[in-house]
Symmetry: C2
Subunit: 430 residues, 2 copies
């Protein structure tokens, strides 16, 4: 079985993830050889700053010319851990053109141009694997596209961003406000200096697009994903959540519509009951809850980021892609045959928790309730708290479309007796 | 891409799982065709009782002659959901000899004869897939043997039997005794009329053997797995567990020794802290916790049994195996290159919770502590409770080998002041 020619791997990027990939390729070389059926050799490492010391990497392998590396023609697998759209996109397509398969951890690129990259891989008979692009070390892409390939997935709901989960968990457990919790996350290295991609939900939205595409065999792009960050979540929201037996998580939710004819994908903070398995996901961990026709409810849990966990996912893909090279086969490519339309956020049906600041006088509740009724939004519970001529009204609705809820809130804002809408939060996982 | 000749599937067994596999193959035929790249056709169904009505299955496909079915020569994939050792083993090897790949849900057979079956598959260039053999619908075999193929797994610890988890969860939440909880499980259909395979840990031990083999790239057979059932777990044990902030689960634990030179696999009831993710696995659900060098801690959670969930796993394998048939490739076979020795239970190192009934007089604790010290077992905490000349002593140890603990307990039993050893339970997950 064992052949002598080693499989050649080109590594694009040698940061936190790339250096860990290179390290494991060296330290676990014998295991990788046994599992693949041939040795794998690091044939080149493309970096931006060649002068930086890279422990354990032969300096003669280091180059700044990534394009020349992927064009060499003798590369079996290109591992892309640069991130971002360019030059990653051009390097990956060039790699396919020159006969290499690709393992990528690039969620932004996959969410934007997954279809084109898959097409390029297929055109050249090569593999494109990207387990590391979603939820770090957690095996998720492979279970969804292979283990559940004979099942019908109806919902994927997950905590796919560790930074925001760390912040929300901190707010929940200590009563801290958003800024205080963010500061701690930054100090501990869980949040970047510019946390926008995480806290505004861009990172989670890219992952949601990838997950929805695989789960529903339908192309879902980053721009198709509704996105709301978690910077407006307050300590008061957590207090409200607690009163409902809930906590607040930033969720990526991909759903098949009840009639099966369309799908939705969205990222936003939401209340979920403490009894839900996702509620107990602590710190920077990730977890993804999957509901399917036959399997029922599954959950996948683990570290969602970090050099070693991400490298574990990259190396799992590397083994699979190398095995495919040896057998002359390719793994599953893009599966978008269902081609379901992606519905806008207005079509999403869920429950809502709305806090209103209202005048504390008779008839306000009746007025508010009338507005809900006029928009076809059915109220589950109302809690009224008054003090000093001001009052707050907390309304929890039954399931209603996002469009109906938006219409309701617009109408509520126009009421003289409603001083303000303090918060609107979706309630999921019930 | 689409070829016209359908792939032919022979189904061996048409009970709870088999009938669900047949049903999904019919209702989801278009999806399966799209995902595989060719239609799949149910070519025959071997059953023991052909007269039983099987809804949705063409009666002309039903046969009692399973051997003739697998020998037909035009079968692409044999799905074996009969269970047990024979005739399943002979049918599977015959299937390979006649050119078919095999998808099996047969944990007992895989745990006993996995190596021989893998060898037969490899000899004939065919696939042997068995995701459904462990933890029902939960994708576990594929993530372990593919997603984590580039990582080093150090421990797999799981709740892999739903019946016993239902019983233990019931005892935990209601204070019921074992028999009462078992009766309820039986009444609700969670336990079979003869629950031996579940409550004595045979089922879990077969799964432990399969998981250990894959995780450590080493052959581990059913007989290599230490096994202790959960019929002796009492309400008093749960009370002790609660005092320690723990609950009790029947765990399958596969570990690499600290020096990396050997492995162990065992099934027994154990206390685990309430903060551990496995502690909150309720009812008949399964969950498996995996610890590896690079990925860190992962958990996979879902329904561990039942017709639909098991069928989901079978169909995922069926899609993969059919895709391999079309591309002329095979998936990963047995990986046993590490060939690590399986150490006996005496070599396992863990913590212990021991309840002793002792005479309530001065010096007993000193005597007991001396016995522990003489056997090299270090005590973490001792709690002493006395009433009416009798007393109980609860000792929690630091980590020690099972052999040392066994020696300690034997010596304790010989002390005049020790009236009895009420319970010994391992403490895991800390």
């Amino acid at each position: 079985m064992m052949r002598t020619r080693p499989l050649k791997v080109a590594l694009l990027g040698c940061g936190v993830v790339g250096s860990e990939v290179a390290r494991i390729m060296t330290t676990h070389a014998d295991d990788l050889t046994a599992r693949i059926g041939a040795p794998v050799e690091l044939a080149g490492v493309a970096v931006r700053r060649p002068d930086r010391v890279r422990e354990g990497i032969d300096p003669s392998l280091v180059t700044t010319d990534a394009t020349a590396l992927v064009k060499r023609g003798d590369i079996d697998v290109v591992v892309e851990v640069i991130g971002g759209i360019e030059p990653a996109r051009t390097l990956i397509t060039t790699a396919f053109e020159h006969g290499a398969s690709v393992v990528s951890a690039n969620k932004a690129l996959l969410a934007q141009d997954g279809a084109a990259l898959h097409a390029a891989a297929e055109e050249h008979g090569r593999d494109l694997y990207y387990e590391a692009a979603v939820a770090g070390a957690i095996p998720l892409i492979r279970p969804l596209r292979e283990s559940l390939a004979g099942d019908k997935i109806n919902r994927v709901m997950g905590i796919v961003n560790g930074t925001t989960n760390f912040i929300l968990d901190k707010m929940d457990s200590t009563g801290a406000g958003y800024q205080e919790a963010l500061d701690e996350a930054t100090a501990l290295g869980y949040a970047e200096a510019d946390p926008t991609a995480d806290v505004e939900g861009f990172d989670a939205a890219a992952k949601a697009a990838i997950l929805a595409g695989i789960a529903f065999h339908t192309r879902v792009r980053f721009d198709d994903v509704y996105r709301e960050g978690m910077t407006e979540v307050t300590a008061a929201d957590f207090a409200s959540a607690k009163e409902m037996g809930c906590t607040i998580k930033l969720l990526a939710i991909c759903e098949r519509a009840e009639d099966g004819a369309s799908v939705t994908a969205r990222v936003h903070p939401a209340m979920i009951p403490l009894s839900h398995p996702l509620a107990s996901v602590r710190g920077a961990y990730n977890a993804v809850f999957v509901e399917s026709d036959a399997a029922g409810q599954l959950m996948f849990y683990g570290p969602g980021a970090g050099g070693s966990p991400t490298a574990s996912a990259v190396l799992g893909d590397l083994v699979a892609v190398c095995r495919n090279r040896l057998s002359g086969a390719t793994g599953p490519g893009e599966s978008a045959y269902a081609a379901l339309p992606v519905s806008p956020m207005g079509d999403v049906v869920t429950r809502y928790h709305i806090s209103l600041d209202v005048a504390d006088k008779p008839g306000v509740l009746a007025q508010v309730a009338t507005v809900f009724a006029e928009h076809g939004v059915s109220i589950d519970t109302v809690r009224q708290q008054g003090k000093d001529g001001e009052a707050s009204l907390v309304v929890v609705t039954h399931r209603a479309s996002d469009a109906a809820l938006t219409g309701t809130v617009e109408a509520l804002r126009k009421l003289d007796t409603v001083r303000g809408v303090a918060s609107i939060m979706r309630v999921e996982g019930e």
